[in-house]
């Protein structure tokens, strides 16, 4: 049944984790007519990682995730998911992935339990495992008590949790979350993330997600910043922030004027007043603080050192902030549809 050209289950393994590579992408291109949505991207995701694609709308995130989920064909390049080629072994890829889309794909006229049973049958979960697994995933997202309610009575956040539970039902090796918290209020967003983190603890799973929220990207083990169909940077959030270099230091002094003068004279730093504090940027701020105390010559009452945020990172790699590029209309349309659908 399976064509012989298919790359078999386990391919290379990443050196750090010793686990098989979950996703491997080489030279991926996708053209729609004259529009080049993805322009040659390469990356690998290790087994067990939470890997995020961070970028504005229209950057190529959705196209890439579609290709990885076998919903679109690449124009050029190769992508392996769970060891299987997304073009040559479509069925095997589908069997091994879970999907949570941006827009809900639940049948709101069925109960939560009926939605999950539908999924279990389509993915041929062994009959004797359907019951225990159903209970497990529903308890994981805190919806076990509400399993016999119609999905149309669920709030947006509950629907998203149910979709995550459903995506996990057949125990996929890789879970794809396309903008998992878009259109949800901040509180619901953070609770969704608690479920995702808990899931990571409990299940042996790799999570690939796309987002345009900075705080969401912070939760990933590694992120790829994608813009104009290309990966601009790829690393852990910490390393990416470190790559920007300078930390932001703010000090309260006994004499701000003198402090600014001294910073310029002693350390050649350009300081200014921000929020009533003397503020300046410097590489490795924490190591700089002892020297500051020793050599400033002005009394210091308090010090704070702040790492650059992912916003700074995004800015430094793409030359703009993600908010500049964000099409807020997409979000509001989605919220409108959610409301229309009934909560």
């Amino acid at each position: 049944m399976v064509p012989s050209v298919v790359e078999s289950g386990v391919s290379s393994s990443s050196p750090e984790s010793g686990r098989p590579t979950a996703i491997s992408v080489r030279g991926l291109h996708k053209r729609y007519g004259s529009l080049e949505a993805v322009r040659g991207i390469d990356f690998e995701v290790a087994g067990g990682e939470i890997f995020g694609f961070l970028g504005p709308n229209g950057a190529g995130k959705s196209t890439t995730i579609k290709i990885l989920c076998t919903l679109a064909q690449p124009t050029e390049g190769v992508a392996l998911v769970a060891g299987y080629d997304v073009v040559k072994a479509r069925e095997l890829v589908r069997r091994n992935i879970g999907l949570v889309f941006q827009d809900t794909t639940l049948d709101t006229y069925l109960t939560a339990e009926q939605n999950l049973r539908f999924h279990a049958e389509l993915y041929a979960v062994p009959k004797q495992l359907v019951e225990p697994r159903l209970r497990q995933v529903l308890e994981m997202v805190g919806l076990w008590e509400r399993r016999t309610s119609l999905v149309s009575t669920y709030s947006g956040g509950m629907q998203r949790r149910l979709e995550i539970a459903r995506g996990l039902l057949h125990a996929p090796k890789v879970l794809f979350l396309d903008e998992p918290t878009v259109g949800l209020d901040p509180q619901t967003r953070s609770s969704i993330w608690e479920y995702i983190m808990e899931l990571k603890e409990r299940e042996d799973i790799t999570i690939f997600l796309t987002t345009h929220y900075m705080d969401e990207a912070e939760n990933c083990n590694r992120i790829a910043i994608i813009d104009h169909g290309q990966i601009q940077a790829i690393d852990s959030p910490e390393a990416l922030k470190a790559s920007v270099g300078k930390d932001r230091v703010q000090i309260a002094t006994t004499d701000d004027e003198a402090a600014i003068g001294a910073l310029s004279a002693q350390f050649e730093l350009d300081a200014g007043m921000h929020d009533g504090l003397v503020t300046f940027s410097v590489a490795s701020g924490e190591e700089f603080v002892p020297r500051l105390f020793a050599d400033l010559g002005v009394g210091i009452r308090s010090v704070s050192v702040a790492r650059p945020s992912l916003d700074d990172v995004f800015m430094s790699y793409t030359g703009r902030t993600i908010r500049d590029t964000e099409a807020t209309s997409g979000d509001s349309m989605r919220a409108l549809r959610q409301r229309f659908r009934g909560r």
């Binding site: 049944m1 399976v2 989920c69 076998t70 919903l71 679109a72 069925e91 095997l92 589908r94 069997r95 091994n96 999907l99 889309f101 827009d103 809900t104 794909t105 639940l106 049948d107 709101t108 006229y109 069925l110 009926q114 049973r117 539908f118 999924h119 049958e121 389509l122 993915y123 041929a124 979960v125 062994p126 495992l129 225990p132 697994r133 497990q136 039902l169 057949h170 125990a171 603890e201 409990r202 299940e203 042996d204 659908r341």
Partner: protein, 293 residues
């Protein structure tokens, strides 16, 4: 560390190894798509009732109202309601089958279709499950009209009822397959409803559901013979009229059967035409869904 906090059954994730393909898996997919259709039909009691209104209007209001007009044309002892009954039976299945197929378009608009299309099962099993679902609910809807047979002067004879159920199943399957084929292409539910409304009334009016097929002007004769519904309404009417007591002449006048240029199309061939059309349209539906993602 985590195991020490969690209770034993929480700590061990249940290992689910999803098996690789095969017939039993496709059958499970067909079965669940079919069951979903039944659950949704059962839950939507309002739809069940509203789908009854039109057939009941045709049968009892039109059938009774026009009977004074039709009295002179009808053989003695035969009621216009009896004549209309097979056509109305077909009509009751018509709307339910198309509406059921139309739920594909609804599912597409509301996202659920994606859940089905990304699953590791063949498109064929999804389309087949959908066709079976539509067939079942449309036949169930027809059964309600079948219960009213006595009011239209049609006897509750087991062989007759069984034959009518068989014909209802065939009709419902072909209609659902037709709807599925259309639904594969149409993106919006309103558009689907508009297109089906546009097609349903001509199909119904040309099927001979409301008048005998003999002695029509040539243009109308040709049009009725092109209408696929004719080939199921004809056999439904002949099975009803064969179980009624009347003269051979009266039977031939009211239920002349489908003829091609004077040649009487056998019931078997007539039903085969409907079955083949249903199968071909279902196949086109599968091919269309294979193309789309």
């Amino acid at each position: 560390m985590q195991a020490s906090i969690a209770t034993p059954d929480e700590a061990t994730a249940i290992r689910v190894a999803v098996p690789a393909g095969g017939l039993s898996q496709d059958l499970r997919a067909v079965s669940i798509v079919w069951r979903r259709e039944l659950i949704r039909f059962w839950r939507d009691k309002l739809r069940m009732v509203t789908s009854l209104i039109q057939p009941v209007l045709f049968l009892f209001v039109l059938g009774t109202g026009l009977s004074t007009l039709a009295k002179h044309g009808m053989p003695p002892g035969v009621n216009l309601r009896t004549f209309l009954y097979p056509g109305v039976l077909a009509m009751s299945a018509l709307f339910t089958a198309l509406f059921s197929a139309g739920s594909i378009v609804w599912d597409r608009e509301f996202g659920f279709l994606r859940e089905m299309l990304v699953a590791p099962v063949s498109r064929g099993s999804i389309v087949f499950g959908k066709c079976l679902g539509g067939t079942t609910v449309a036949t169930l809807q027809g059964l309600i009209i079948l219960l009213l047979a006595g009011f239209a002067g049609v006897p509750y004879r087991p062989t007759l009822i069984l034959a009518l159920i068989g014909e209802l199943l065939l009709l419902s399957f072909t209609l659902t397959a037709f709807g599925v084929m259309m639904a594969a292409r149409i993106q919006q539910f309103q558009a689907f409803m508009a297109v089906t409304q546009m097609l349903v009334m001509p199909l119904f009016f040309l099927s001979g559901a409301l008048y005998p097929l003999g002695g029509l002007p040539t243009w109308l004769t040709v049009l009725t013979r092109i209408d696929p519904l004719t080939y199921i309404v004809g056999p439904m009417r002949s099975v009803v009229f064969n179980s009624l007591n009347m003269t051979q002449a009266a039977r031939h006048f009211l239920s002349p059967g489908v003829t091609w240029d004077g040649w009487l199309v056998p019931v078997g061939l007539s039903l085969a035409i409907v079955a083949v059309m249903g199968a071909v349209m279902a196949l086109i539906g599968v091919l269309e869904f294979r193309k789309s993602d």
